[in-house]
Amino acid sequence: MTLIFAIAAGVVFGAGAFLVLTNDLVRVVAGMVLISQSAVLVVISSGLTRGDAPILPTGDKTPSDPLVQAMALTAIVIGLAVTALLLAIVARVRATLRSLEVRELARDEAEHTAELEQSLDTMHEQLASDEAKEEQ
């Protein structure tokens, strides 16, 4: 059983990681959802006992470990909140850049850095020429 869980969690994590590395921002978010689900799978599989519902143990069988279920629920809720947040950021990227591509985002940032460097360069040149004038 542990092996099945381990393989499932590994496959889900791998699929998530693959999606995170794609070019489409929505897929990146979907990849994060998958990674969070794989963490939930690991949490639920780390239970120490498996058996009856723990809400009312009858004594015939061992109840399942309730603690991991509580942890998994918390993790799911946090995952939901984080997904909503990521989607909100993606929506704002779409509104400002009019694109949902990671490449666009990277290009925009590269341009910004180049502008920054250029303005620093002009500043240096200006300062140098000012100094030269003063010396004259």
Partner: protein, 470 residues
């Protein structure tokens, strides 16, 4: 006990209530400041009780011992909680005085402080994850603060990378529960020694990767410069002065506290990664021209020092790691806050921060470097001392390159396309400058009268290696 509960509940309630209000109004901003002041007050009250008589514990919800979630305040947690709360407070006051630009900013800062306080004061591994996410989610939103559209890309990268780190942390927590059967930190520490070594090492490595990502250590640093470079100074101060403490605290608590055998086993690896982080961060910081980016690379280097001290270990190494983390947080916050201002005394405040970063005697950073040298001497390793010296020399170079760049050039040309980001030539308000000056005086004061800080860090480190708490 009341202090412990109050330190968490007060900012929590204030944060949630403030989310409903418009944060751009001065009144709301000052209410957030009051909430953080209450949090700081409760933490000071807690520290006064905890430092002399050892730890305080609450089992939440009135459950019996071993069932409920445990909140525990010990010297290490209280020291880090106090430090983070102080830095966040300074950054918030700075931003409120400068003028808040978004509805949610004050509330998010207060919630971030709540998350930080909670994770430093919890005694439960899973609860640590919950508080950690609370702080991180607030931080993801704060990164996008400031109306610069380039910040959105940085915020997205920051969120995605750190979320992967968080989920790895969650997986490690689940694995810890599976092999030890408990989530309570002291129980985990006690049972970890009997765990099968392979499983324990895997868990230790996963924790290390999770916290390394958070701290921005060398192989996991790639997200950090983009994030720091475009944020508002107050947010950058919070990220580097308060949020980065999670990484340092996590490595100390989970490495030295819960998995000491595995830490010892991996000490060479830690020292190597730490050293490469120091050199890489310092070299790139020297080569950068944008001040924020320079400070971001310097943060990578400074994180390396903490890791080196942790790798050396022992009472001296751990105390040095705690001390260095504290001083680095203070000086980084000071540099980010004062770097954006103009006017009398600001340059002096910045110079104090730069001296502290470089480890020059009147400023407190000297103590951190001194303790690191002591660690190196204790270890008897020439290579380590040479490394510390080179790192220190390089940090001296970039710290003063930065000073020259920021304050000796007179009127600066507006950087970037938007004139908003350029620093105004006219002096900033007296009150804003006062915040930086107070922080500078604190750094200077700690350097001139180092005794309390040294004993504090020794106490905090004593919690980890099981030494007697005074």
């Amino acid at each position: 006990m009341t202090a412990l509960a109050l330190a968490l509940l007060l900012p929590w309630v204030v944060g949630v209530v403030l989310l409903l209000a418009d944060g751009r109004r001065k009144l709301v901003g000052w209410a957030a400041v009051a909430g953080l002041l209450a949090n700081l007050g409760a933490l000071i009250w807690l520290a006064v009780r905890v430092l002399p008589d050892g730890e305080q514990t609450i089992v939440t919800g009135g459950w019996t011992d071993g069932v409920g979630i445990v909140l525990r305040a010990d010297a290490l947690g209280v020291v880090f909680a106090l430090l983070s709360s102080l830095v966040v407070l300074a950054a918030l006051v700075h931003e409120v005085l400068e003028g808040v630009r978004s509805r949610t900013f004050p509330a998010l800062v207060v919630l971030l402080a709540t998350g930080l306080t909670g994770l430093f004061l919890t005694g439960d591994v899973f609860n640590f994850y919950v508080f950690f996410e609370l702080a991180m989610i607030a931080a993801y939103v704060l990164t996008a603060y400031g109306d610069d559209r380039h910040q959105l890309g940085a915020a997205l990268i920051f969120a995605v990378v750190n979320l992967v780190g968080s989920f790895l942390f969650l997986i490690a927590v689940a694995a810890t529960y599976h092999v030890t059967g408990t989530l309570e930190m002291s129980e985990v520490a006690a049972r970890m020694a009997d765990v099968e070594p392979n499983a324990a090492i895997l868990i230790a490595v996963t924790f290390f990767v999770a916290f390394g990502t958070k701290l921005g250590l060398f192989p996991f640093h790639f997200w950090l410069p983009a994030v720091y470079a475009g944020t508002r100074p107050a947010v950058a101060a919070i990220l580097s002065g308060a949020l980065a403490n999670i990484g340092a605290y996590g490595l100390l608590r989970f490495g030295a506290g819960l998995l000491p055998n595995e830490l010892e086993l991996g000490s060479t690896v830690l020292i190597v990664i730490g050293s490469s982080s120091v050199i890489y961060g310092a070299l790139l910081a020297v080569s950068r021209r944008d001040p924020a980016e320079m400070l971001a690379y310097s943060a990578i280097g400074q994180a390396g020092y903490v890791l080196v001290a942790l790798g050396v270990g022992g009472p001296i190494g751990l105390a040095a790691a705690v001390l260095y983390a504290i001083l680095n947080a203070l000086s980084k916050a000071l540099l980010f806050l004062s770097g954006a201002l103009r006017g009398a005394l600001v340059a002096a405040a910045f110079a104090v921060g730069a001296l502290s970063l470089a480890g020059m005697p009147p400023a407190a950073g000297f103590l951190g470097k001194l303790q690191l040298f002591r660690t190196g001497v204790e270890e008897g390793s020439v290579a380590l001392i040479v490394l510390l010296f080179c790192g220190g020399a390089l940090s001296f170079v970039y710290a003063f390159q930065l000073y020259q760049h920021e304050f000796w050039r007179g009127d600066r040309v507006a950087v970037g396309t938007d004139s908003e980001k350029g620093v105004p030539a006219e002096p900033s308000g007296v009150a804003v400058r006062a915040v930086s000056v107070v922080l500078a005086l604190l750094v200077l004061g700690l350097g001139i009268w180092p005794e309390p800080l040294l004993s504090l860090s020794a106490d905090a480190a004593a919690v980890l290696h099981g030494g007697a708490v005074r």
